[in-house]
Amino acid sequence: MAINLPETDVVVVGLGAAGGVAVLPLAWAGLKVIGLEAGTWMNPGQDYKPDEIHNNVRALVTTGNKAGNEVPTFRTAPDQVARQQPRHPMMNAVGGTSIHYHAQSWRLNPWDFRVKSATIERYGKEFLPEGTTVEDWPLRYQDLEPFYDHIEYEVGVSGKAGNIQGKIDGTGNIFEGPRKRDYPMPPLRSCEFVDHMTQAARSIGFHPYRGPAAINSQPYQGRPGCAFHGWCDRGGCHIRAKSSTDVTTIPRAVSTGNLSVVDNANVRRIETDNTGKATGVTYFRNGKEYFQPARAVLLGTYAYENIRLLLLSQSAFHPNGLGNNRGQVGKHHFGHWDVQAGVAVSALFPFDINTWYGAIAQGVMVDDWADDNFDHKALGFIGGSTLHAYTEKHPIASAAMNTFGRVPKRWGSEWKRFIAENAGRWTTAYIQTNTFPYSNNWADLDPNVRDPFGDPVLRITAGPKLNEPKAASYASGKMIEWFRAAGATEIMGGQGGTGPALSTHAHGGTRMGLDPNTSVTNAFGFVHDCPNLGVIGGSVMGTAGARNPTQTIQALAWRTAEQLVRTLRRA
């Protein structure tokens, strides 16, 4: 039998990028909050190392026990048996994957919120990709703008505005939506390679700008500026310059006295009463089962686990899983098509570029070929990709470089001479593509594979997409043009990639919408037929921008939390 705990106002499941932000407005409002986290606190001074074996080979920062026990299975067609993937892309810890992410911190383009209607307006209904289930978001960019602003100032984001209340500034991103004010910090330090790529982009008429980062470029809120040691990817920040939630919003929420963090808590079910409302959650901690009653629940695990926990939480009122009476949980699910399995463009320069140090977010970005920033009429696809040239290169990965066909073998004396000359002369561009939901892409419970509790893991079915590879290939061609303008002598890539896979950018599955027949959550992220259960995270997003989703996830989480404050105050 579960041990019954005293009731709290709000229980937040998962203290990562989303839950870690949501706790702050709740705690500020005086609500009593319990934060349940499957991992525990990391110790930045001790746990994070400038070491490729530690971070990238052994994955010692990114590994989480709970996530590792419930890795989803994956297949590309419904007639296949889905296979469990080797590794979960996310980590368990207070702060979650915001600890080891690249911290590129974006607002979506206003177009991302209304892809369907904007496409019909500009190109006609037949221009929408075949099989897509895309709908406009139930909110517009301008509805989210104040919350983007909160995140930039309360979490800490550095960057340069390109559009302040309609006034365009060409040193920022001229394609961004209007914002109330500039970032609280200037962009991260530049370097010769970033300056060089910026000039090259300008020389061919592109509009380069320094991408925003949730990394301090200067001391901010008691944390130091970035030291650019080059171990941001899959490693935490040893000096707390990266604005992960474990060093920003969570400690501030704790300091109000209203947030209690419960670590190593393995949440297994969201409980509901006979009217369908959530009563609390059941979790395991150190071999004991607990029931945490709450007036409201915020579900803030990763997209995969948000979907799975809803499907597992069956009851008389929700026989097919919580919020799933219309079969929408798990539908409209998709990964960022190109991430970890897609297009890459690599370039070799005839001189040392020395991008060893820095950070992935220390880069230069081009939006000219993303979103609806160019005329698609003759192209036969919608959306596009952002292009990002950046720094941070680790020695093993550098030596394992593509040899661009310059040497016949990938070992031996001739190859050794090649890498001695060229390991410091190559780079890869990061190309992210607008991605949409399709009827051939969904998540459900796997019939065969279970976690150690005996619960099924999530199964992802992701059929081929036709639109996104076209968009990515087109943008890759622009990346090749950019590298050529920068003087690269060898350039590889530009082909459509191998397609979807498990992703750190999983989207959808509990989509927000006005119509309960095509969505799981309402315009504020609360489950249609379980109004005191809010979902936060990428699972509520109906489209993926051509950029990292985290800041949008955080802005939505803040907005959901504020709405919950209003609701609970009324009650």
Binding site: P50, A227, G230, N354, S398, A399, W411, I419
Partner: protein, 215 residues
């Protein structure tokens, strides 16, 4: 004490600890770098590590690694830079599940050498070794199960040993990092350490501090 450079091609000047600290301070770096003075690192014997593969397989492994990264005018061979130490450490600690497959693969590879040339793999000429490895890489050695996968793992582990932090037993005297021009692991970089169009000065710093650089 005389500072010894690990390789010839990266003719970068080694920056000493004081210069580095000064540069870091000038740039206003927030946390300065517990930098490692590696003056005498190459004089010490290699670390004592277990050999989970056994000495026969170790000999084969060293010979394979040395065909991947042979000794030449650019620097020492893989085994001379401690790559076998690294691989053994990984197999003893975090990579234990791979031990049986790797052990069997190396033994099978050695059997191919003996069947073909009457000598074990490590005693063959470089040309003979290359011929066998080329067939292994292409998956054409019938005697070796999953030959391509074995070759890829041996290649990958050799690269890990040569180019990882010397803390793990490879990259002795920073030979691997000198080869490719990676200055060293640091906790903060200055704008000078992000300059283009020139080989950067080698720092010879481990991410684990002086007492842990493995040499």
């Amino acid at each position: 004490m005389q500072k010894k450079s690990g390789g010839n091609l990266p003719a970068g000047r080694s920056m000493n600890r004081r210069e580095l600290l000064q540069n870091g301070v000038k740039a206003g770096a927030v946390v300065l770098i517990p930098l490692v003075d590696t003056s005498c690192t190459t004089e010490l014997p290699p670390p004592a590590v277990s050999t989970p593969l056994g000495s026969d397989n170790d000999r084969t492994l060293a010979a394979v690694a040395d065909r991947i990264l042979p000794a030449d005018e650019l620097g020492p061979s893989a085994s001379a830079a401690g790559v076998v130490h690294y691989i053994n450490r990984s197999l003893a600690e975090w990579n234990q599940t791979e031990l049986p497959v790797l052990g069997k693969g190396l033994a099978d590879l050695n059997e191919v050498a003996i069947a073909r040339h009457l000598y074990e793999f490590s005693a063959l000429t470089g040309e003979q070794q290359d011929a066998i490895l080329t067939e292994l890489e292409a998956g054409k050695l019938d005697k070796v199960v999953n030959g391509q996968a074995l070759f890829n793992r041996l290649l990958r582990l050799t690269l890990e040993g040569m180019f990882s932090d010397p803390y793990y037993g490879g990259n002795a005297g920073y030979a691997g990092w000198d080869l490719i021009g990676y200055p060293g692991a640091v906790l903060a970089s200055t704008p000078d350490m992000q300059k283009m169009r020139e080989r950067l000065p080698m720092l010879h710093t481990s991410g684990h501090g002086a007492e842990h650089d493995g040499h």
